[in-house]
């Protein structure tokens, strides 16, 4: 598949074409902050964004969604399912967020298929934007989830900002179809353009401010479960949901009904393991009674259980958890500290 250059002067035209048959989700300014939202015109797009505070994966796994409506009819119930099959294009999604979707896929189409998630996922086209300048909290290169993107990551197209033009790389048939539709807007990319992209990718990776070495981490954590280290580390945690709600890989949810007389709906919404009542059982027992247990659970789920189960950590190194943490808890420091605990013991 031939890579293309689209001059920035024609990018509005490109977006217009995308808008023909899909709802385009792109970074816009909302109350002074960059956030991915459906756009009505290409002019709304704010190109100077870094990593948005809220990940655009919220359009695949939304904060809340109505699963179905129910209505009592005599002795029976009438159910109306809400499968979302709107065609969407997420324009400008960062490589780390694209990679997080691949991890969510494992959860929502593994043993059981989740029709709500999958319908959204299958109806969404991903046009990624390569990162040229990592943010202060980024460590995606530790996972290979950025700053560049390979064909396997799951994006349909990858854009690279070359100053005057966007370099467009095609990864999928869906991406190819788009590029065929907009063929008149671009020019074929040269090998010099390709080299420039490679140079930028290397440069971005070398500017990554943090690294996390996963080597030996699950094994170290295996020895540390009862360690006082977790008491010490979790003392400052405020048990809010900023880190989990902003994490593009955190997928825990709650399901509840809202009823009014004979009708209502079943809603699924995000939940956070850091909340005090997350693990509360009916009858009143809470197996994770304090912040120590909930914070430890978050770390073990992401960096031990997931590595053992799936072969990878449930983290893409986007740095949002650190950016948002009211008390500056740094996941890289916490995990490196855990490893060094075990080294000290040995």
């Amino acid at each position: 598949m031939q890579d293309t250059l689209i001059h920035k002067g024609r990018i509005a035209e490109f977006i217009h074409e995308l808008m023909q048959d899909s709802q385009v989700i792109a970074p816009v300014s909302v109350g002074g902050q960059a956030r991915f939202k459906p756009i009505e015109s290409p002019e709304e797009v704010e190109w100077g964004y870094g990593n948005t505070t809220v990940s655009p994966t919220e359009f695949i796994l939304p904060h809340s969604e109505s699963l179905f409506q129910f209505e009592q009819r005599g002795t029976d119930f009438n159910l109306t399912y809400n499968i979302d099959n709107v065609n969407r294009t997420i324009l400008g999604i960062r490589p780390c967020d694209v990679s997080s979707l691949r991890m969510l896929d494992e959860v929502f189409k593994g043993k059981y298929e989740d029709p709500y998630y999958l319908s959204r996922r299958n109806h969404t086209t991903l046009i990624a934007m390569m990162c040229l300048e990592p943010g202060g909290s980024c460590f995606c290169s530790s996972f290979g989830t950025g700053p560049g993107l390979d064909a396997e990551a799951g994006a349909d197209l990858l854009l690279v900002d070359l100053g005057e033009a966007f370099y467009v790389q095609v990864f999928t048939e869906r991406g190819q179809t788009i590029m065929e539709r907009v063929a008149s807007m671009g020019t074929p990319a040269t090998s010099a353009d390709r080299e420039q992209v490679e140079v930028l990718a290397v440069q971005a990776a070398s500017n990554m401010p943090r690294t996390l070495d996963l080597e030996g981490l699950p094994e170290a954590m295996g020895q540390l479960f009862e360690s006082a280290y977790w008491d010490k580390i979790s003392r400052k945690c405020l048990a809010c949901g900023a880190c989990t709600y902003l994490c593009p890989v955190c997928y825990c949810f709650d399901v509840f009904d809202t009823c009014s007389q004979a009708q209502g709906e079943r809603v699924r919404c995000w939940d956070a393991c850091t909340f005090k009542s997350f693990a509360l059982l009916s009858g009143g027992h809470n197996p994770r009674p304090s912040i120590k247990e909930s914070y430890r659970q978050k770390m073990y789920h992401k960096f031990k259980f997931a590595i053992e189960r799936h072969g990878y950590a449930l983290c893409v190194g986007c740095g949002r958890c650190l950016e948002a943490c009211p008390v500056d808890m740094d996941i890289v420091q916490v995990l490196s500290g855990a490893k060094s605990q075990v080294v000290e013991v040995v």
């Binding site: 109350g31 500017n207 401010p209 809010c240 900023a242 009211p326 008390v327 740094d330």
Partner: protein, 366 residues
């Protein structure tokens, strides 16, 4: 002279200590390789010395202060339990967290706590509301000359490129790595005032109002630029429809992470309505009505209680200007009851008492 900061890319490996001051300013190397945090040596040493004393004398079980954070722009709360951990404690111009919020969790233990002027006001209000026993808290007060707002710094230079920050009187020097060069970082110079948190720019109480001892001499109140309630007055002048649409846009950003509520030292309910599951009174998802109610309930409960530490606004990941709500409450409380929370221990909060001279209900609802 103030230079305009230019965007530069971060470098990873840069050697510390390139200023002549390096000898007298200790540099702590941080997790993000090549970066360093500048500490106020004198205050830091005093704090460490006193905490060592408090712990070894058994006066406190824990001392909560600040330690170096994830990068030069941040510090992090530090819980010190043993004398050999005292070396973690630092004081510098990024020491923003209001550590009083931890009192609600450890109220039965004897705690030592580092408080700035603003933080000390939260202690006063908690004492009045019988949330903490004075004898359980040992307060080490720090006279504060203002704290830098990481967002204001980030707006002027790429945070990933910052290697070190230091201050000299009213100037702040930020060292940034320069692309393609590893030997010589660029030093940007800023007026400290431009980088301070808004609350510090209009701070009336830089010196702690309640403390057991002070670390350093009291400092003068900073000359104020502009009115304290400017943003509130600006909103008050707009129509009710404009105000509604302003707050709707802001609250629509809310992800209900509850960072604002959890960081608040005055939000001390043992069981929070918003997290209660049995019965579950409110939805967990960001239904606009519930989100609006959440913020308004918090606001109403803070009348005569909120001391304006602005931690809620600082920690909001989606930048909702929550401080404006609490400033409005502070302003109303001042106008209606001539009361400012967190100043004097023996003045009863307005909603805990009734006075025939209080404004009428009509005045309140106007």
């Amino acid at each position: 002279m103030t230079h305009t900061a230019t965007q530069v890319r971060g470098l990873v490996e840069v050697v510390d200590e390139h200023h002549p001051e390096a000898e007298r300013v200790p540099v702590l190397t941080r997790a993000r390789s090549g970066t360093s945090i500048m500490v106020d040596t004198e205050k830091t040493e005093r704090i460490r010395e006193r905490v060592r004393g408090l712990l070894s004398e058994g006066r406190v079980e824990y001392f909560i202060g600040y330690e170096a954070g994830s990068d030069p722009l941040h510090v992090s709360p530090s819980f010190v339990q043993q004398t050999d951990e005292v070396e973690h404690l630092v004081w510098n111009l990024m020491s923003i967290n209001n550590l009083v919020t931890y009192l609600k969790r450890y109220r039965k233990q004897r705690m030592g706590l580092l408080v700035k002027g603003c933080d000390s006001r939260s202690v006063i209000e908690l004492l009045k509301l019988h949330q903490v026993k004075r004898e359980n808290v040992y307060l080490l007060g720090v006279p504060c000359t203002g704290i830098l707002d990481p967002k204001k710094v980030a707006a002027r230079c790429n945070p990933a490129a910052i290697l070190a920050i230091r201050e000299d009187h009213d100037l702040v020097f930020i060292e940034v790595g320069v692309e393609g060069r590893t030997d010589e970082p660029q030093v940007l110079e800023f007026e400290k005032h431009d980088l301070l948190f808004d609350k510090c720019r209009s701070c009336d109480y830089p010196n702690p109002l309640v403390y057991d001892e002070l670390v350093g001499d009291p400092v003068p109140v900073r000359a104020r630029v502009g009115g304290k309630f400017e943003d509130v007055e600006h909103l008050e002048q707009s129509s009710i429809e404009e105000r509604l649409s302003f707050w709707q846009e802001q609250f629509n950003k809310c992800i209900r992470c509850y960072a604002c509520k959890n960081v608040c030292p005055m939000c001390f309910c043992a069981e929070c309505l918003w997290e209660k599951r049995d019965p579950q009174w409110v939805t967990k998802y960001p239904n606009p009505n519930d989100t609006f109610t959440f913020h308004m309930i918090r606001a109403y409960h803070m009348v005569g209680r909120c001391t304006g530490c602005m931690e809620c606004e600082r920690v909001c990941p989606v930048d909702i200007p929550l401080g404006t709500i609490f400033k409005k409450i502070e302003k109303d409380c001042l106008e209606l009851f001539d009361y400012q929370p967190g100043l004097e221990l023996d003045v009863v909060p307005p909603l805990s008492t009734f006075d025939e001279g209080d404004q009428s209900q009509e005045d309140l609802l106007r």
